[in-house]
């Protein structure tokens, strides 16, 4: 399909401490022709950018050890990273979502993530 051909040039970073979630999200991205990598926490997400890697899309979990999604998002924005950062979390109170959004997210989706949510995100890149 044409929109999938366009998406084959996109890259994504999946930031989640849960291997199951990383596997599912990376497979979803692959189904849209997006090349992805996965890291286990916010610190690794920051480090990969410090090494010069850049991604069109970052799927950021909130609760992670070492460095959580809020801290990682703030740090990436301070570094000048302009990638689309989408928070993906099972937290659902308005206050928690607001705090995450205020860190610098472009969008937020509640887990479990699905292909419809991903499609709507990719349509805006």
């Amino acid at each position: 399909m044409a929109h999938e051909k366009m998406r084959t040039k996109l890259t994504a970073l999946v930031v989640d401490d849960n291997k199951l979630n990383r596997k599912i999200h990376e497979k979803m991205l692959e189904s849209f022709g997006v090349k992805s990598e996965g890291v286990e926490n916010g610190r690794e997400a920051v480090d990969i950018h410090c090494r010069g890697h850049r991604f069109d899309l970052i799927l950021m979990d909130m609760d992670m050890p070492v460095m959580n999604g809020i801290e990682a998002t703030k740090e990436l924005r301070l570094m000048g990273i302009g990638s689309i950062i989408v928070g993906v979390s099972s937290r659902c109170t308005e206050a928690e979502i607001r705090k995450f959004m205020d860190a610098g997210l472009n969008d937020y989706h509640e887990k479990p993530f699905n292909t419809a949510k991903l499609s709507s995100i990719l349509d805006n890149i």
């Binding site: 849960n18 189904s31 099972s90 887990k111 479990p112």
Partner: protein, 151 residues
């Protein structure tokens, strides 16, 4: 049993899991990700879930033994992780039991936590057995178009 009959049995088995409220839409999402390169993707994910979640079950059991006082924050955190993993495979009933457990945690109700955890384990084991039987039959039938909407 011929192949078509076996395929119908696989479909019926899967439908039954939805009809009993054991699985939700997320399971369909995972099936939609299966392709020729990963024909057993759903089974891999479910296997990974049961491997990870069994560790969480042990941790929760251990934490429930600590009664003076019971660490409800720790229990809630563990259950949050367990619920997340269960949601990822579409384990609808298990997820509901997780929510109940977390309500008991927030209320500081130790007996409620113990009771709901026993029920949760029953649902967890029951689903695991049914999914094992389902995947075993599905493997015998071979790769097929398995993604279908639940009624």
């Amino acid at each position: 049993m011929d192949k078509n009959q076996s395929r119908r049995q696989v479909a019926s088995m899967k439908q039954s899991l939805f009809d009993q409220g054991l699985l939700d839409e997320q399971f369909i999402q995972l099936e939609g990700l299966q392709d020729d390169a990963n024909p057993n993707f759903v089974e891999e994910i479910v296997t990974l879930h049961y491997r990870d979640s069994s560790r969480l079950i042990s941790s929760i059991e251990q934490a429930l033994k600590e009664r003076n006082p019971m660490d409800f924050n720790k229990l809630d955190t563990l259950m949050h992780q367990f619920k997340g993993s269960s949601s990822s495979i579409g384990a609808k009933k298990v997820k509901a039991e997780c929510n109940l457990f977390r309500e008991y945690c927030r209320a500081g109700n130790a007996e409620g936590c113990v009771r709901s955890f026993q029920q949760l384990k029953k649902e967890y084991v029951a689903l695991r057995k049914k999914l094992e039987a389902y995947f075993q039959l599905a493997r015998q039938v071979g790769p097929q178009e398995t993604a279908c909407r639940s009624k």
